[in-house]
């Protein structure tokens, strides 16, 4: 059995029933990148974000015996990150000022599975999309990122951020429209170049 091929529910079950440390490591490696980005969105400090995510995972290990009772672990850890981040901000009493998405992007590695040419193409396109997504209000940009990069469902995002699914849908539509506009511009160019 390869841990990398397990669903989150399977990892959750292995940790709960067998205290499986490899499963725990896999869970961390799979969820932590998105969670750190999410925490950075609140606390604007990569190191603090890493510590917050670490605290959430400590909680996961402490409560491993009851882990099977958690219906949606992904939502659970994201809600925990949100709460821990708020606590952190309260304790620091700093004013919340939201980090631009581009900075989060840069702190995380670029994919290594693309061909060089593809990278140039997608990098340019990504850059353009990022620029336009960055012009969105930060909350909207973060919702877009959660849906796209973390594959979170509308209902899950609503639960994590404690807002209505309708609001999530509206925000996502705005983001998707921006993305579509950039892509259309690009495809137009490609079509024109070909003809």
């Amino acid at each position: 059995m390869r841990y990398s091929e397990c669903h989150i529910e399977e990892l959750q079950h292995l940790i709960a029933t067998q205290e499986d440390q490899l499963a725990y490591k896999e869970l961390y490696n799979r969820l932590a990148p998105g969670m750190i980005a999410f925490a950075t969105h609140y606390v604007h400090d990569l190191q603090a974000a890493e510590e917050i995510v670490s605290d959430v995972f400590i909680r996961v290990w402490v409560r491993r015996a009851t882990l099977d009772h958690i219906g949606n672990l992904k939502v659970y850890v994201y809600v925990s990150v949100r709460n821990f981040s708020n606590n952190y901000l309260k304790s620091k009493k700093t004013q919340s000022e939201i980090l631009p998405l581009s900075e989060i992007e840069n702190t995380l590695a670029t994919p290594d599975y693309l061909q060089p040419q593809q990278i140039v193409h997608t990098k340019m396109m990504r850059q353009r999309i990022l620029v336009s997504i960055n012009q969105l209000p930060p909350r909207c940009g973060e919702i877009f990122r959660m849906a796209k990069e973390e594959g979170l469902k509308i209902a899950e995002i609503a639960e994590i951020l404690k807002i209505s699914p309708k609001t999530v849908e509206n925000q996502l539509t705005i983001g998707f429209k921006k993305m579509a506009a950039v892509l259309m511009e690009f495809t137009d160019k490609v079509i024109r170049l070909r003809s």
């Binding site: 059995m1 091929e5 399977e10 079950h13 292995l14 029933t17 067998q18 205290e19 499986d20 440390q21 490899l22 725990y24 490591k25 961390y28 490696n29 932590a32 990148p33 998105g34 750190i36 980005a37 890493e50 510590e51 995510v53 670490s54 605290d55 995972f57 400590i58 290990w61 402490v62 995380l108 590695a109 670029t110 994919p111 290594d112 599975y113 997608t122 396109m125 999309i129 849906a147 796209k148 990069e149 594959g151 469902k153 509308i154 209902a155 849908e169 996502l172 539509t173 998707f176 429209k177 993305m179 579509a180 892509l183 259309m184 690009f186 495809t187 079509i191």
Partner: protein
């Protein structure tokens, strides 16, 4: 492009569009073929998730924090994969520690008592076979597999829904394990201490070999398939024979367990002496498929559900473990239908649909309970 279509498309890409929403989207796409390229590009970009990988140092730092937490939350010593740093306890913490320790000892005693009572109820063979007082239990859940390295260096790969018991003196005074389920054994060589496996149907003794055993308590059949070396198998049923199996041999003991006897008694009255006649011992060879070099007996280890000329009843048992569902037959004659097949990523519905191609039966699903009729 209209907003609502964009949202629908995004829902579709994230796998959360309803059937009617998908239809609406499909209709729009048919009416606007010129937008096809845009849809494709959108899908390509959306699905191209950044596979963010953290450097290993992140998890290591996390472990340090985990280990430094108060009280220390050391990852257990069982199957250690991560370095556990030593934690220094200062004097202030000791008082708290003592209370915690006392509390946890009490909790462990309660837990052991609970577990012991629970296990005693369903495992009578355990206490007599295992000499030590405390035993270790290794379990896998429905639809999951796991690997275990025993103190003597032997490796066990357990299939879904399997329980393996071994006592605390394992590797010192004995190498006895009790198995209820299916497992692949890679036994470390030791002439002095034979490795013994007890199931409710067979006893196996080896010194150092590789083999697969499938013997779920609830099934009527026990299978032993040898890949390397030799294995001694004793039947615990009515026909108490002992066999020595060599590489690529496979022994099937069918219908000898006590469950079977109970079954016949429960059945029609004239089956009173039917138990002994129903017991079948058969020796065959491991089934090796040259096309994809897959051995049916160990297909489960490669995340494959495979069966070769097996009855629907046997396949249903495998499927129950594989998919973590329950399968019941409303029409008993269907149990005898035979299939050969192989599934990898298929869902249970896809697998059953595939079987329906070659045989006529229907099935109904309700809350993970599949009724075949």
């Amino acid at each position: 492009m209209p907003d609502n279509i964009l949202l629908l498309f995004m829902k579709f890409l994230n796998g959360e569009a309803s059937v009617s929403e998908e239809q609406e989207l499909e209709q729009f796409r048919k009416m606007n073929p010129q937008l096809q390229v845009v849809f494709e590009e959108l899908a390509g970009y959306w699905m191209d998730r950044k596979k963010n990988k953290l450097e290993d140092s992140y998890f290591e730092r996390h472990l340090q924090r985990l280990n430094a937490a108060d009280p220390p939350l050391l990852l257990s010593s069982k199957n250690i994969v991560v370095p556990i740093s030593e934690v220094k306890i200062n004097k202030k913490q000791i008082k708290v520690w003592k209370i915690l320790l006392a509390a946890s000892v009490f909790a462990v005693v309660l837990l052991l008592q609970f577990l012991f009572n629970k296990e005693q109820a369903d495992e009578k063979t355990t206490s007599s076979f295992l000499a030590g007082e405390t035993e270790n239990v290794f379990k896998t859940g429905m639809g999951s597999q796991s690997r275990l390295t025993l103190p003597d260096g032997s490796e066990i790969w357990a299939n879904a829904n399997t329980k393996i018991y071994y006592d605390k003196n394992f590797g010192i005074t004995n190498r006895n394990v009790i198995l209820n389920g299916e497992a692949y054994f890679k036994v470390a060589k030791s002439k002095e201490l034979p490795f013994c496996i007890e199931t409710n149907k067979i006893s196996i003794t080896v010194t150092g070999t590789i083999f697969n055993v499938r013997s779920y308590d609830k099934e009527f059949k026990a299978e032993t398939s040898v890949f390397e070396g030799s294995v001694r198998v004793a039947n615990k049923g009515l026909n108490k024979k002992t066999f020595v199996l060599k590489s690529s041999d496979k022994l099937i003991v069918q219908g000898s367990s006590s469950d079977r006897v109970i079954n016949t008694i429960e059945g029609v009255g004239n089956a009173a002496n039917g138990a002994s006649q129903q017991e079948v011992l058969s020796l065959s060879k491991i089934i090796f498929d040259p096309i994809d070099s897959l051995v049916v007996e160990t297909a489960w280890m490669k995340a494959k559900l495979a069966f070769s000329d097996e009855s629907f009843e046997e396949i249903a048992n495998k499927m129950e473990n594989w998919y973590g569902v329950s399968i019941v037959f409303e029409n008993q004659s269907l149990k005898k239908m035979r299939f050969t097949g192989r599934f990898t990523k298929e869902t249970i519905n896809e697998a059953l649909d595939a079987l329906q191609f070659t045989a006529s039966f229907q099935y109904q699903e309700m809350n993970k309970l599949f009724t075949i009729y």
